[in-house]
């Protein structure tokens, strides 16, 4: 549905050019919710604004629904934008228009009659649950309600794609959840492709199918959300995951001396991430049966990503060197995320 090829964007800054995007390739499939996460200044807003060409890329091609937006004239581009909805962090509603008239705005741009508009706006207000607020002005609404109006407005032209630029960043956690739920609902009901950018991992975890991590104008990692949680490849991704999954070792463990290589009488410390099926499979039980190792569970945590259980365990494997490495190989062969924390001397064990 959306293809970005070699997108670059350079801004003129006071101290020379700023390369906000440095060659981004991305493909978003029809009907999926695609998240883009990155720290402040990473280029998220620039990237999403390139998708509907609010920002014209300095280089590269943008394709949405098979049309190359980068090749269109001003008028053609305006027509194409009507099929790409967008919502913003600060809602950007027209303060002088009522809820109803805000949603009617894109229809008015198309020159529709008042009757057609009435017929189209009413179900949209119903969809976002604001039927009883139709005569109110944005100033009379809460943040969550304003974003609902913005969503209804973005859907008025029956777009194929919805772009969300930090759509929940100005909202409290409960309201964020309800807006995300609404987006997910719309995604399923209307088969709408959604691209959302955020700096909050919970948003990604809550509704995204796939996610890309952007840093310094480059996509440094992408995959399914579960993949990213189980097998983060970069330090930035691990930082983001750490914001919702506690990855820190308990203080008693963290204080111990780890070595990357096995030593006489040392045991192996691992962090295992389980997902879905394997979280329910008795991997550990089998491991103990199969290999002559002692498994000591030091720390555990279970969370869910959307509806899939996701667990992390910190375990210690003790035994003959051969048995330990056999066990490690066995674990690596499973659908598990494994991070070797290191070897610790057994006699220095502080925890039983």
């Amino acid at each position: 549905m959306i293809e970005l090829h070699g997108i670059e964007k350079e801004y003129r800054g006071a101290a020379g050019p700023i390369r906000a995007l440095r060659g981004v390739d991305l493909a978003v499939a029809a009907g999926e919710i695609f998240g883009i996460i990155g720290k402040s200044g990473a280029g998220k807003s620039t990237l999403i604004r390139c998708i509907n060409m609010l920002e014209r890329p300095s280089a590269g091609r943008v394709l949405v629904d098979g049309r190359e937006l980068t090749a269109l004239s001003g008028r053609q581009l305006r027509a194409a934008r009507k099929k790409i909805g967008m919502i913003f962090q600060h809602f950007n509603l027209l303060s002088c228009r009522t809820v109803f008239d805000n949603v009617a705005f894109p229809l008015e741009l198309d020159g529709k009659s008042r009757r057609e508009i009435e017929a189209e706006v009413a179900p949209l207000l119903e969809l976002v649950g604001l039927t009883d607020r139709r005569g109110q002005y944005p100033a009379q609404l809460s943040g969550g309600q304003k974003q609902r109006v913005a969503i209804a407005r973005a859907l008025a032209n029956n777009p194929k794609v919805l772009l969300c630029d930090e759509a929940t960043s100005a909202l409290d956690p409960q309201t964020t959840r309800s807006i995300l739920e609404l987006l997910k609902n719309i995604n399923r009901k209307l088969r709408l492709t959604i691209v959302l950018i955020t700096h909050e991992m919970p948003v990604i975890k809550e509704i995204c199918d796939r996610v890309a991590v952007i840093e310094d104008g480059l996509i440094i990692e992408q995959g399914t959300v579960t993949d990213l949680f189980v097998r983060p490849q970069t330090a930035t991704t691990r930082d983001f995951i750490r914001t919702i999954v506690n990855h820190d070792l308990p203080p008693g463990l963290a204080a111990r001396a780890f070595s990357p290589l096995p030593q006489e009488g040392s045991s192996l410390m691992l962090r295992l991430s389980f997902l879905g099926g394997s979280a329910e499979e008795p991997v550990i039980a089998r491991l103990i049966r199969k290999f002559d190792v002692d498994v000591n569970i030091l720390f555990g945590n279970i969370d869910t990503i959307q509806d899939t259980p996701f667990g992390t365990l910190v375990v210690e494997l003790a035994g003959e060197q051969a048995a330990v490495s056999g066990a490690l190989n066995y674990l690596q062969a499973h659908e598990l995320g494994i991070e070797v924390i290191g070897y610790v001397a057994r006699n220095a064990r502080a925890v039983g």
């Binding site: 008028r75 303060s95 228009r97 705005f105 741009l109």
Partner: protein, 217 residues
Amino acid sequence: MSPEMLALLADSFVETIYMVGVSAFIATLLGIPLGIVLVTTGQGHILENTKLNAVLGAVVNATRSTPFIILMVAIIPVTRALAGTSIGTNAAIVPLSIAAIPFLGRIVEAAIREVDHGVIEAAQAMGASPLQIIRKVLIPEALPALVLGLTITVVSLIGYSAMAGAVGGGGLGDLAIRYGYQRFRPDIMLATVVILIATVQLVQSCGDRLARRLNKR
């Protein structure tokens, strides 16, 4: 005060209203588009044209920095060409309008600039054309500020019109000079001043009230 004097006051008042009304109308017709063009041709805006913007800005500044009394004299040839005469209320309308257009233009510019950029962006994302953005976003969103700006312009025009009257333009200013000053009639002088003050108060409070009504923020 004699009935003749009252009739004279009434006539002069009507003349003032006429001068101010017509020049405010012309100023609105040209000053609002001027203000909009000043904003939208600016850098990075929806009708970016920095050369036009620079030229317009310079012309506006030149007009605005000329004192009204000098402007009025300096453009007498233009006034003659447009109004057919250089004295009387119709003649006064020309310099009044020429002074008011850039005055209102700058006020409109400031009002339009206050419109949240995000809202313009949202309209662009919905495929709105520059003209649609002006008509359906910029003007409606800035309307309360535009009404206040127009009010200030009318109030200034009332002051300027009295000045124009002093040099043969008719209206209350003319009356105050001819009777109040030259024939030493303090009662006429006082009456014109009171009427001018009352008119300004009325215009200002109507403008304020309307702007408040329109403001939905």
